[in-house]
Each structure stands twice: as C-alpha cells, then as structure tokens.
Amino acid sequence: MADSMHGIGVNLTRRSQIDPVRQMIEDGSADHVEVLIDNFLSCEPASIRDSLGDIPLSLHIMRSRFLERPAADLPALGTRLRAFIRELQPFAVSDHCARFTEQGLPLAMLAEVDYRNSRTLCTRIAGWQEALDHPLLLENFPSLGEEGRAQPAFFAEAAARCGSGLLFDLSNALIAAHNGGAVLEDWYPHLATVHHLHCGGYSMLDNSPLRIDSHDRPLADDSWQALAQLLDAGRLPRLGSLTLEFDHDIDYPAWRRDLARARTQLAGRGS
C-alpha cells in the first residue's frame, strides 16, 4: 500500500462486537477499526480509546441523514461528532449520500438519491462537511437500477464543488454494475485519488435477480477478482486502507480468513 499507515481492518457496528474485534486487533488480523459512530453517540469519546487502544480508527456515519434533515440541525449534530473526531483523531470520516425516508417515513432499505439534483446535494454536502470541520468521504451506493449510472459523474462534481472524497466500496460498485447501474470501469478515473476502500459480502434480493449489500457473509469471488484486477493494473496507487465489512450473522473465523487473504493479495502488489 502506498499510504500504508492503516492497512487492513474491520468495521465495528455494535457493542457485542467489541470483544471479538479486540481479539482481532491483538492477534494481528486487523490493523485498523472503522467505528460506526451512530451507535455510540452517547459515549464519552475517550472511552472508545480505552477499549480499542491506540489502533488507527476511522469513523463511519450511517444515519446522520444530512441530506434530509433540516439544515438548521446540522451544526449541532456536527458539534457532537466533532467531539469524537477531536478525541479519536480518525484517519477518515465517512458518510452516505442516500435517501432514508420517503414522504417522511423511514424506508426499510436505503434509496439512491436523484443525481439530477446535484446542485442541492452539493450544498448539503458542503454544509455537512463544514459542520464536521473535517474532510468528508462519501461512500458510493449499491444501485438497484440504471438510475445509478450517473453516480460516478456526481461524485466527480461533488469532489470539484465541495472537496469531498470518495470512500470507494468495491462490492457496492460490483452490486451496482450487476443491477444495471454504473460499471466498474466508470469509476476508474476516480480511483487514482482513492485512499480508503470498503468491501463486504453481498446477497441476492429474495426472488429477484438483484444483488443487495447485505454484509452477512464473506466476500464473493468477483470481489476478490476485481480487487486483484485493480491492484494488478495499478489503479489504486494511493490506497491507504482496506476495510472488510461484516455486520450480520458474523462468522468470525470466515472474517479472519478474508482478512488474511486480503493481506496476501495486497502484499507485494506495489499498490
């Protein structure tokens, strides 16, 4: 890895994961931990370090709903998150560009934003980044259809207008391509500047040909192949971290095997 400070790591979304993740840190399986900060907002920020030690941390935000909340709410929310950023000094802070509600009601599954509203979206991204007072990475969406084809162009526009970065989720990109959204090649121009990569297991939506980002199983073969292809082609020259995500039905031995395989795959590839 070129910016190889943070290596290969795991995500931590719930308290029940704390002890197993600590074991993964101690046995060298994980070099960093990405904390889903939404689920720990009531904690004293220093207590996270007390549990996880001085391992590199990144902060992932899932439910800020910064695109949908009243804009007036963002500064107060940003103040809360800044306390964590200040204390934990994460190497990355990331969020999602997605819709969580429809007509005021929560959706069971996140929906893709309408990229035709890019000007409005960018205003919100800039406001949220300012509230956080930290560079913001946005994760690409696992599109369900062709409306996602505009996604790479939107991320380029957001980067140019707001200075936001891309948290490139490789499995999301493959899901989107399978479902009719942007293809992996559409992301190539972005990858030269990508520092942080996500990858997780996906599954099929019941009784349909669609893939969904389920994080409930090990990485799929095509994720490994795509990772190897990107590394071999030198398309990730600034890669600084790879986080393998597992959220549901966590199989810790399988997760460890994936981490070891990723370590082998990245070693000596010159990326």
């Binding site: 689920n39 720990f40 007390d50 107060a76 939506l205 019941d206 349909s208």
Partner: protein
C-alpha cells in the same frame, strides 16, 4: 422488483420487531409473518413511522386486531416496552441531550427505564422503575431525562 422489495421489507420489519421480542413471537406462533405484512400495510396507510416506537405501534396494532390474549399479557407488554426503551437508548440521534427514558404502562401499572451508555463497552440497561404514573388514562407514555431534568410525559 417491487414484490421482491416488499418481501425484503417484510423480512426486515419482522427482524426489527421479533429479534427483541421472542416471547411475543412465540405467543403468536405461525400467525407472526402474515400479521407483520398487515401491520406494515396499516402503518403505511396511517403514515406511522416504524422508528424507535415500532414495538409500541405493534402492541397497539395487536390490540386493534383483537389479539388481547397476547397484547394484555404483562410479560408480552413488558417485553415490547423494554424493546421500545432499548431502541430509544440505542439511537443517539433522538433527544441527543437526554440520557434516560421512562416508559409507563397504565394497563399493568409498570414503568420501565433505559439508560444510554456513557462508556463505549457499556450495554444499554433496561429495568423496572418506581415512579408516579401519569394520569393518561389507558395511553402509554414516556418521558426523558437530561441532566436529571425530566421532560413532561408524552403520549407514545
């Protein structure tokens, strides 16, 4: 695709309700899955958000369906109210300054409380509390506490 998404949504809601309420699921037996679908449809029709209050919405809906054997059982009510309190405590985006919630159930004259953890490795604790119950008739109520200041009772 719409059918697949509806099926997926039903599965998600099923888990979001029953993972924290196994006794309720047991009491409903094989009826649980079709009931969840009807519950989702009813919530959509009445524009009820399946947020941290979903277990209380579910309890109320069971009552409306005449499932009183289940919905009036004290242990079931306790389980659903505890799940509701716990969901509030886990969601730091709601009432962010509050550290505790108390949910009161006039039917069983019980009150449950959940505290938000102040430490990373600390779990959400839900427990019975003694408190003066609100004069709200049969309506379930909650209040939150921030820096020992209690909010007024709100209907759930």
């Amino acid at each position: 695709m719409i059918t697949a998404l509806a099926h997926f949504q039903a599965r998600r809601v099923w888990h979001s309700v029953f993972d924290a309420a196994p006794l309720t699921q047991e009491r409903l037996g094989h009826d649980a899955s079709p009931l969840i679908r009807d519950f989702i449809a009813s919530c959509r029709q009445q524009r009820i958000a399946l947020d941290w209050r979903r277990h209380v919405h579910w309890l109320r809906w069971l009552e409306q369906q005449g499932r009183h054997t289940v919905s009036h059982e004290p242990a079931v009510r306790k389980e659903l109210l505890a799940a509701c309190a716990s969901a509030w405590a886990h969601d730091g985006y709601i009432d962010p300054d509050a550290s505790r919630i108390v949910i009161a159930d006039p039917l069983t004259a019980q009150a449950l409380s959940a505290c938000r953890p102040s430490r990373f490795a600390e779990r959400v604790r839900v427990c019975h509390v003694r408190c003066e119950l609100p004069d709200s008739g049969p309506i379930l109520c909650y209040r939150t506490l921030a820096a020992e200041q209690a909010s007024p009772w709100h209907a759930l």
